[in-house]
């Protein structure tokens, strides 16, 4: 039924991919450079990889990045899925304004989101200081009097900008779902929980997975919002890189990025190969029956 692409069309696609990947290959190539430049090739060496593992600043920021992205993704996926189900069941009049608010973090420029959250945290911490002082004077138990920005605020910020992506990918799946399915299941004696696990969840699973994947990618790639909300004690990889882009990005950064990149490449390849295999199996079974 479908006409395949002509040669020219395919060439166009290839060119777009070359455009997307040329700078990346350049980065990867120069992670093996013996010199410390991103432009002058001085021979092959693995020295930067060896150096990377001794660089605590970079390793620490990689750890922070992965931890905050993972936690934020898990929490955002969980909260976002339930929120999407809630939104979906609402009347349109209630849902629309809420969806508008939900879209704000995506419509808003990163810099505005980051700055505004920073202002909020600072204001809240100031207020907290006086509250804690008053509370401690009551002598019940002690509250910390001084809160500072750090991993906690970074996590809150990441969750906040991740949830909309989850909702946006779960929402359409819910709308595609037959609205009577849940009611039918419950009429047939399912409890609410069973209906959720057995009917809703399988229907929206692809949406949840793609939402989580998007959220995780966004977390890893984010720089601006982290910059404003991480405080002084936590640094993400992006912040470390930003500190370096201004001077010399040492090829250690190329090396760690190459490692992350290759890891993801391998993971995605495995997932895809497995999926493809399962599909083929299913197709074969169908043919047999």
């Amino acid at each position: 039924m479908k006409k395949n692409n002509s040669f020219l069309n395919r060439l166009f696609m290839v060119l777009v991919f070359v455009f997307l990947y040329a700078p990346i290959f350049l980065l990867i190539i120069f992670s093996f450079n013996a010199g410390n430049s991103n432009m002058v090739w001085k021979g092959f060496s693995l020295a930067w990889y060896a150096k990377l593992f001794r660089n605590r600043l970079i390793m620490q920021s990689v750890y922070t990045t992965l931890l905050v992205s993972l936690l934020a993704t898990v929490i955002a996926t969980f909260a976002g899925t339930f929120a999407a189900i809630g939104f979906y069941a609402m009347r349109r009049k209630v849902r629309e304004p809420l969806m508008t608010v939900n879209n704000i973090p995506m419509m808003n420029a990163d810099i505005v989101t980051g700055v505004s959250m920073c202002l909020l945290f600072v204001a809240f911490f100031n207020g907290w200081g006086s509250f804690a002082a008053w509370f401690n004077s009551l002598g019940l138990f002690r509250l910390p009097t001084r809160l500072t920005m750090g991993f906690g605020t970074l996590l809150i910020a990441h969750i906040t900008f991740n949830i909309p992506y989850v909702i946006l990918s779960v929402g359409p799946k819910l709308r595609q779902m037959d609205k009577n399915l849940v009611d039918a299941a419950m009429d047939l004696g399912c409890t609410w929980m069973q209906a959720f696990w057995k009917v809703i969840l399988p229907e929206i699973k692809p949406g949840i997975v793609s939402g989580a994947l998007t959220a995780f990618t966004m977390s890893i790639d984010d720089f601006v919002i982290s910059y404003f909300t991480a405080g002084s004690s936590a640094s993400t990889l992006a912040m470390t890189i930003y500190g370096m882009t201004k001077k010399k990005v040492t090829p250690e950064i190329n090396a760690i990025s190459t490692l992350l990149f290759v890891t993801v490449l391998i993971l995605l390849a495995i997932v895809n190969i497995r999926e493809a295999r399962q599909e083929r199996k299913r197709a074969a079974e169908l043919r047999r029956s």
């Binding site: 039924m1 006409k3 395949n4 069309n9 395919r10 166009f12 696609m13 777009v16 991919f17 997307l20 990947y21 700078p23 350049l26 432009m39 909260a79 339930f82 929120a83 189900i85 809630g86 939104f87 069941a89 609402m90 209630v94 809420l98 608010v101 939900n102 973090p105 419509m107 420029a109 990163d110 810099i111 505005v112 989101t113 700055v115 505004s116 959250m117 202002l119 809150i156 906040t160 949830i163 992506y165 990918s169 359409p172 009611d183 609410w192 949406g207 793609s210 990618t217 790639d221 720089f223 601006v224 404003f228 890189i241 930003y242 882009t245 990005v249 990025s257 990149f261 995605l268 895809n272």
Partner: protein, 284 residues
Amino acid sequence: MRNKLPLLSIPYVVWMALFVVAPIIMVVIYAFSSAAGGFTLANFARMGTYTVVFTRSFKLALIATAICLLVGYPVSYMMSKEGPRFQRIAMVLIMLPMWMNFLLRTYSWMAILENNGLLNQLFQKIGLISLYNNIFGTDLTFFRMINTQGAVVLGMVYNYLPFMILPIYSVIVKLDHSLIEAARDLGANSFNVFRRVILPLSLPGVLSGITMVFVPSVSTFAISKMLGGGTEMLLGDLIEQQYMGGAYNPQLGAAISLVMMVIVVVCMWVMNRFGEGEEQAVMM
């Protein structure tokens, strides 16, 4: 039972109130206050000075969005016509660059576009520069690419193209093929099928793609700083400068943010009216 389901979203609504709405209120408060703390409109009175920056930012972001659309739509369309295996790989390939931090990717472009950079070295080697000099009678030793508006647009297109391709592709790939077949059966040629059926149906994807490219483009500061050389400021630079850069003035920064936010929201609202009734399409 369905009327109780909405309760599930209560935690997130609370969360939104705390971390989405409250911060914006903070920005509004800042925008209307003076450094000393009182109410003032002075921050907005200064906005006229920055008209150039506003127009420049919107112009560059529009160009970048248009290019992304012109490149992204055909790519999405062609992708959807390939086999499932190809589609899956292509999707992965489009998401994957985001795993290299965008600062690093942009940095890599700096090395490519510099006066003495890789592209100019290549042009030199293949004799393109001397050819150009012979034809136009100039004596260039390099093509000026970095620190131009073109380089900034290139950076935007490069960084945000996936945001255009993903939503469009996700809509096209889900199109009901019986509709296309019906149109063919009724005698429409390929062009008409595309114009009358595929294009209108993929509009929600296009709209969300435009939003996802335009908004970060109009507010970027890292790209313009790295590829534009900081001689031609964009809105993002202007705001960043008030918060973390050389001119500390958070009230003015908040006012500029607010104006930018309002303009963007109005643009998006008008645009979404065109796609009447369709809620935002998904990214993937």
